[in-house]
Amino acid sequence: MSMRPIDLSLRIRKKALQLCHEKGASHLGGALSVADVLAVLYGEVANVNPKNPSDASRDRIFFSKGHACSAMYAVLQELGFYSGVEDKFAQNGSIFTSHVSHMVPGIELSTGSLGHALPIAAGTALAAKRKGERWKIYTILSDGELDEGSNWETILFAPHHALDNLVVIVDFNKIQSFGTVAEVLALEPLAKKFEAFRWRAIEIDGHDHAAISAALARAASASDGIPTAIVAHTIKGKGVSFMENKLAWHYKSPNADEYRAALAELEGV
């Protein structure tokens, strides 16, 4: 079942906000920045099956920035993989840990240690190639985790093995854990780096649904042996003016006043 990305992205943002507020969780800024990518990918592009999360023909989606779990748990609930995340999230004994967990239906891989998902996604892409499978492999990375050398091992590996079924989406929100990307360890020119490693790089506004959709469509139709990296320029905290581009919202959990104000902004009240 597809859902209009414009509706889905709002629902993801509201649910992520609620989860972080009610359960005192962190990493809201990175959840808000990736919400549009998730909305288009899950709402319009990817073949996933909430009735059978391990359906062999599904597209494999790896969420490497596991700390932004509130957005991921939100989108999967909206699609119908489960219900009640607002009660269970981050609670004692719950499978909904504060980094995404593969115990949760629809989550391919537990992540939380950065730089782990891309090599695994590449292995999955290689398996698909060797077995002649047509499904696609999507991996959503944060910008900060591109500091990890493990990613670059795989960025070297994937084009060598012609893994054109592998799609990377970098949520390039420009802020990492303890400073801006530019200050801590600069990534730019990021698209050119991918191109130098023999990837197809597509730079987009990561909040423009039409652009996300077009980039994913181009990636999905690739049959030239070249993997695709979509560099999605995003805004950390996108949608809530007082959270946008603020390092603090990598950590802070919104209090009651902040929650009300943020919700009002999102709903355009």
């Binding site: 782990h116 090599p119 999955t124 398996a127 091992e153 590996f157």
Partner: protein
Amino acid sequence: MRNAFIKTLVECARVNDSIFFISGDVGYSVVEPFAEQFPDRFLNIGIAEQNMTGVAVGLAKEGYNVFTYSIGNFPTLRCLEQIRYDVCYHNASVKIVSVGGGFAYGPLGASHHCTEDIGILRTIPNMVVSAPGDPLETSAIVRWMCNIPGPGYLRLNKGGDRVIGEMGTILVPGAPREVRAGRDLAVIASGAILEYSEGAIDTLLPGAALYSMPVISPIDALRVVQLARQFERIITIEEHQLNCGMGSAIVEVVSDAYAEGILNRVPCIKRIAIPNRFTSVAGTQAYLRQMNGLILQP
């Protein structure tokens, strides 16, 4: 052991099309038989062990039973967090093979001394940790690992290892193998130092029993407790740091069994291992064993 490994893996791959083999750019004149016969299930991934381990997990998620292969510390410690979080936490069918265990590559220096692997890997849940003592044990463990899901570790020596004792009974993976019967004193060896132990025991410890302990985790606690009942003294010997190795695993089992009342007395257990230090000189495997005190004494 290398040749026994690849020969057995080729045999298993003929009848089991889930077997996949990834080399970290090593294996010249060893792994070619697999690469030639099963090109669709072989990959030389280059010198990138984090990627190697992650790719193996991705393949395992899609149904393969993947063997990764490199030297000493490279397929293990170099990518330890991938092993803990990606392989073991997800219980992925990835078997990690390290060639050059202990001081097998002694002259190459400390980078190539593989002497902490057992201790580090046996603390990780779901991981099967093995160090066969000869080519026959190697084959038995490879066959076993080809048929079980989940994570595994296989520590090999290098080439030229000879068969020790007789297999006699079929090796049950996990159980200590009786190489030589004896009384009062049992020597338990793990890994390639079994060959030295068998040679030394006759002159230095006549009448002692000799066991090979090829699987260290999960340890066969039942058989270890039986040995603790049967023998007054036990000597463990391994090419590994004293901390956390096979000898430590034996002591843990015996101590726990005593604490739980399963044993009403404990044998005297002496652990022979590397005395928790680095070795900064060149030397053959035999030389470095000796200078680290890995010798049996009366």
